[in-house]
């Protein structure tokens, strides 16, 4: 009962926030609402017993990516062009895609079903981690050890993305203005 009430309240608020982002014309407002959306989804992740993801989502979604969007706005423009007419095509595409996806969920295991096929691997991890590692956090153990290659790849992707940003935005020395403002 508790679970359902809270789930429905939080999910309703999430949906409202998502709609608010679509409605928001001010770009700064949209960026901040994006952060708020991350916060809320992180809260729901905690309710769903995934504290590690919630932690990351809160730190990344609400903190760092908001700052990045704001920094971009500060060097481009903070004004968005007003949309003149309502477009029908995007709505049609979205409704159609959504309908297909919902049709696809009909065969999915129920929410919270302990017998769902996904859990087969997970249960094995849960059994093996305490014996092989003697540490309490199963997520860290799976992340670092059983899925160590994965994580290595992801770290490399982060580094590559950082290098990409530096390549795109780094000013070459000859570009620097003669008069330095300091």
């Amino acid at each position: 009962m508790f679970q359902q009430t809270v789930d429905i309240l939080v999910l309703g608020l999430l949906a409202a926030t998502a709609l608010a982002v679509v409605r928001m014309r001010t770009l700064i407002g949209a960026a901040m609402l994006m952060g708020i959306y991350s916060f809320l989804s992180a809260s729901w992740m905690l309710i769903l017993d995934a504290p590690d993801v919630a932690f990351t989502e809160a730190a990344v979604g609400a903190g760092v990516s908001t700052i990045f969007v704001l920094a971009t706005l500060s060097i481009t423009t903070i004004r968005a062009k007003r949309q003149t007419k309502f477009q029908f095509a995007p709505l049609a595409v979205v409704v159609l895609t959504g309908a297909v996806l919902i049709y696809g969920t009909l065969d999915m295991p129920h929410f919270g079903d302990p017998e769902a096929p996904v859990h087969r691997v997970g249960n094995r991890y849960i059994k093996r981690v305490p014996e092989e590692f003697k540490i309490p956090n199963a997520v860290t153990a799976v992340l670092g050890s059983y899925r160590g290659f994965d994580t290595f790849g992801e770290t490399t992707v982060v580094l590559t993305a950082g290098l990409g940003v530096l390549c795109l935005l780094r000013k070459r020395r000859e570009d620097e203005p003669k008069v330095v403002t300091e």
């Binding site: 709609l19 959306y37 590690d52 423009t77």
Partner: protein
């Protein structure tokens, strides 16, 4: 009826995903597109995390006195995806900055107009 009600989590998450998608394809503003992509991404994370849930279980950080734990695997996959997501978002934003420097605007239709004008001239 109760068959279908157990799936409400997926439906709302799909609604959230579609909101993000709508934002991406309906707006011409590049920064709003990035915001839409971020919303889409956060919703996909939610989809995976809801799959990992087990009724009556607790988070997969072992404590005394609890026997059932939720599935750590979706958590692990999404954990790395989030950080990669922010890094790629940053690349998208960097591209936006460069586009703004080249065209003087971040509105898609204005960029298209300029491209078109160049084609006609050249």
């Amino acid at each position: 009826m109760s068959e279908a009600l157990g799936l409400y989590n997926y439906w709302i998450v799909i609604f959230l995903m579609m909101t993000g998608l709508y934002l991406v394809i309906s707006t011409g503003n590049l920064v709003r597109k990035v915001v839409g992509l971020n919303i889409f991404q956060a919703s996909v994370l939610l989809l995976y995390v809801t799959m990992g849930r087990v009724d009556g279980a607790t988070a997969p950080i072992f404590v005394e006195g609890r026997e059932t734990y939720t599935d750590p695997l979706p958590s692990v996959l999404m954990l790395t995806a989030i950080v990669v997501g922010v890094a790629t978002t940053a690349v998208a934003l960097a591209l936006t900055v460069r586009i703004n420097e080249a065209y003087g605007t971040i509105e898609e239709d204005e960029i298209n107009e300029q491209e078109h004008a160049q084609e006609l001239a050249g």
